[in-house]
Symmetry: C3
Subunit: 127 residues, 3 copies
């Protein structure tokens, strides 16, 4: 991700993994593999993502970076805090071979210390 922070809809990639798994009934775990990032479920609406971003920056500001003891040779302590607010993972029910979602649920990767290649883990169990 080229910017420090961003929110990417990864629902279709998770659906692809589910299709490949052949699982009809079970649970799908989707988690960030990085500790300054989140996987969360919410609305696919850019205004809301902007609201998330401003809100996270208010409650866990990036600047001044010197306010955080973690920032010795780093500047991403705020990313670790933001990740805790938004969560590491989601677990989604799989029913009849589909992600069993409410009407507006979509899965997002939230990045709080961007600029590097990032990975998500998807693990599906069931039958």
């Amino acid at each position: 991700m080229p910017t420090r922070r961003g929110y990417i809809n990864i629902t279709s990639q998770v659906e692809e993994c589910l299709g490949e798994s052949g699982i009809n009934e079970g649970l799908a775990l989707v988690n960030a593999m990085h500790i300054t990032a989140s996987v969360f479920i919410n609305d696919d609406e850019s205004g809301l993502h902007n609201d998330f971003d401003i809100w996270l920056e208010t409650l866990a500001p990036h600047e001044p970076v010197s306010q955080y003891r973690h920032n010795v040779g780093e500047d991403n302590a705020d990313g670790h805090l933001k990740r805790q607010m938004m969560g590491r993972e989601v677990v989604v029910a799989v029913t009849e071979g589909k992600l069993d979602f409410g009407p507006w649920e979509q899965i997002f990767y939230g990045e709080f210390d961007g600029g590097r290649r990032k990975r998500v883990l998807v693990k599906i169990i069931g039958e």
Copy 2:
């Protein structure tokens, strides 16, 4: 739910689902199907629920609704933020046919944009 916000103990409904499933060892996923609501585990104590409510309103206030870009024809952006703080889902161990709880754990549905009929998903896997 008739009010905008509220906290409902849904533990007995989840236990009913578990009983019907016949599963003895496994995991139970319980999640809100709405993106301005939470399922979480905490204490069944009304003073604490009042504390949650005031705290959430302090950190993610409803008013002024115009402070949020999501609120174009909507007024529930704060509900999306509050939901992230309290979480979408819980995963509970099932052991010997029971929810495997610590002494005070109870499951709640937290509503942050009420007035409509709401649904919870319960998915139990195991044997």
Copy 3:
């Protein structure tokens, strides 16, 4: 835990449970059994844990204890709030008999109302 708040790396204990389970592919649930405590995944870095502690105390302060309605004969309402920010549980993929972690992921028990003996539940399902 002798202090009110603290952060303990429990990754090796979870790995022991996984070894004993003999499970190769599945999911591991790790949750706090206490409602003023969290299980979360982040970096094993003491400066960051100090940052978490100060940040949680800023957003959900312990004092004055009288600001919380829960604190009638209790003084731990803030612990219930902090636990919601940091989360109750993590679900970790198990792949080839190992916790399937990103490069820096470690599992922590976060205590927000210490002084008593505390317990964590580990439930692993799969085959």
